[in-house]
Structures are given as structure tokens and as C-alpha cells.
Assembly symmetry: C2
Homo-oligomer: 222 residues x 2
Amino acid sequence: MKHGDFQSCPVCGNLNILDEEAFLDDLKCTIRAYPKNQLIIRQGEVCDALYILTVGSVKTEIITENGNLVSIETIEAPRPLVSEFLFSDNNQSPVNVTALEEVEIIKIPKSEIVRLMMSNPHFMQNYLTHNANRTQFLTNRLQLLSIKTIKGKLAHYLLEQAQGSLKPFVINKSQGELAEFFAVARPSFARSLSEMIHDGIIRVTRREYQILNFDKLKELLV
Amino acid sequence: MKHGDFQSCPVCGNLNILDEEAFLDDLKCTIRAYPKNQLIIRQGEVCDALYILTVGSVKTEIITENGNLVSIETIEAPRPLVSEFLFSDNNQSPVNVTALEEVEIIKIPKSEIVRLMMSNPHFMQNYLTHNANRTQFLTNRLQLLSIKTIKGKLAHYLLEQAQGSLKPFVINKSQGELAEFFAVARPSFARSLSEMIHDGIIRVTRREYQILNFDKLKELLV
DNA sequence: ATCAATCTGTAACAGTTGTTACAAGTACGT
DNA sequence: ACGTACTTGTAACAACTGTTACAGATTGAT
């Protein structure tokens, strides 16, 4: 049974499993590959299984009523998908999940997850912690979207990414993807970005960003 | 031991507990009352216990870097608070929780929660389901905030509240609170609201809202 | 190397929102 | 009934964002 890195998954790792092969064989699960750009989970689709992304990367996004896309995040293997919705009352995924490259996914039925939790305290803790971290991520996203100006959003995001350092860092998103992430129009984002560059607040080369003036950047949050 | 309604709490209800008094006495927990407007949990505060609101109501909100408030939701007893952050890696509450009236809160240490989960499958399922529902709530909130116009946000919100009915319904928030909920300025919200009223799309009397023209309302989402 | 697809920069204009300010209305406690 | 605090309505203006359009980079595949 060929599969990706399982042990370093935030939910499935550190389980003190002696024999991973035996563990996986015992677990009622299916493994499946998806090609690039394939829709893996559709918004509104019923989820009664946990998906674990073992190889590759995916993106999640919401389609709003008016047809706009809001990108939520990109996820790299190994990580569970939709774990935070598996036990909800309506069992529906609120997001689309799409493969960014060729991916491999393990699908574990909900009943198996319950069994694992009851028998393996470590698995349960992992699961709870992962979901809690995801909620914090969403709350942070909420805070970002509630900032009213584009420059303010970008400032918030850059300050978070830079982590206090003056060193340049890479943001692996195009301007279009960043605009989608901030839920603003692409040319508007480009305008704000170029203004901030002209004002000497940041420097941008391709996808490499560098903060030149922390104070001015923080002022943009006001 | 006097306390509020415990059995109908989404996490603590339906546990097949024969003797509630004995259950609570056995559980290592503390019960405490807070006066109106008291800050119960501060944003950034470390949470190592589950809070269960047994009497009254609270509101949760985020303070952004620039000092703006983003209201998240109001919560009515009985319901757990910050259950979705309890197991996160940093253990910090991302929100402020404030009493809207005199409230009573039971505080249960994290270790006790873990013990309960392992010994009571029903409690675990309740907990997971509640957290999953909360995540869906947050995702929905994210979708609302990503709508670019105020009228669009209001349309989204009203369509959700009305649930397809033409009957008037009450939204228990002032205009200022709604503006905060939508992360927009209050006069701007008032302007959009009055325009929608003048256009014959909705009718508003105090806090009672009625949809007069579903089609036009849906058009605002575009 | 060349082509197609994607990404970036920019412009003009319309449309929407924020800001500030003030008057009028309502709710509530005493 | 009175006053205070809160809520609502509205106006004018500045500021910001969306839309549309197009040309010039850049990237990746063949």
C-alpha cells in the first residue's frame, strides 16, 4: 500500500502506532488520487468521512451567491481536510476543495473516526487541537476581512507574515490570489500595493516582500 | 447548589446523567456570577477551562489593531463559551466575552473535560458537534464579510433570517450593532438601509423587518 | 525559440463608503 | 414628567474601491 507521509499529519501523527501498515489495513479506509484542478469536495456536499491529504496541495474557497470566489486557504500535505465540519449537524461542507496538483487522499468513515477517538486518547487530543487551531485561523481571517481599507488589510497580513523581522520573505500568491484572499478587486489591490511601494513602506520583487518602514505600515491599520 | 439550565446545553445535555447534583459535585468545577457589562474573558487571555454559560447572555467581539470593534455574536444560556479554542496550541482566546446582563458561568478545567470525553462518548459527540457547528457559523460570517457592498451584506443577512417567509421578523440589534456586525460605518449602513426602504425592497419598523420584494433583494447580492 | 496563458501595471470614471456633524426621536430610570 | 443616554435620520464632502479596458511583462510548455 503506497501512500504519503502519515506520521507527521497533525491529527494522525504521534499515535504510538507500532506498525503503520497494519494500522492502515485495519482501518476501514480508501485511498484515492485526484489529478490537478480536480474538484475534490463541492460546497454543500455531505461529508460523512474524514479526508486526509497525504500527497500534494489543495485550495479551499467559497462561492458566494453572486458567483464571487473567496479563497480561504491553501493546504499542504499531510493534513486533514474538512475535519472541522465532519461532526456538524447538517454535515455539509461550506467550502469547495480543489487539487492544486496531483494529490492523494485517504478517506476514513466517520464511524471509524469515532472508534479511533474512543480507543486512542492521543488521536482525540490531536483532533481537538487541530480543530481548535483551525477555528483560530478562521477568526483571524474574520479579523482581516473586517479591516475596511485594502492597505489596512495588506498591512495586517504583512505584519503577520514578517513576524517582526526586517528580512524579505516570500508570499506564494499572485496579486490576483491575494486580492481574492482579501475579498477585493484585483486592480484595486494593485493600486494600493503600488502606492505603498511608492511611499517607501514596502519593497516587492516578484513574490518577495520586504517591510521598509514598520511604523508607517502600522499607521495604515488605523 | 443553585444553577441554571444544564440539561439543554448543547454540550452537556442528553448525557444520561441520573443524578445531576451528584454529577456536578463530582466534577471539579467552579460556579461564578458576573454583573452586567463585566468583561468575562479578555482577548488574548489564556483559557485552560471550559466556560458554560448557564444563566443570561453574553456578546463576543474582536478588537482590531486600530481599536475597531467587530462583533461576532451574542450567546444565550445555556451554551459553552470558547469551547472551540480550549484545545488550541496557544490556548488564547481570540475574542472578548462580555456579560450583557447578570450571568452565571460554570468553569470546568480542561483536564476534567478530557476525562469526561474519554468516559462519556455522548459528551464527546456533543462537544465535537457543537464545535463543528461553530465553525460553520464562522465560515458563514466570513462569507458575509466578503460581500463587497453594504446592501449586499444586508440582503444576505435578511434572506438568511427570513428563511423564505414573507412574514415580518425581529432582529434584536440596533442599527449601530448591525453596522458593527457587518464591519461598516453606522451612517453608511443607515443610508443603505433607507435606500432599500425607499426602493420598496424591505419595510422596517423599529427592529421588525419585512421583505417586500425577494427578487430585488437577491439582485443586490450581485 | 516561440507561442499561449497568465500575471502585472496603469488609466479614467462611476459608484460606494467613511467621516463628521447635528437635529430629532426614543427608551429608561427616578 | 423630566432629564439623560442612547438611537436614528440626514447632509456634504472627502476618500476609497470597483469596473473596464488595454499594453506590457513573465512564465511555462512544446
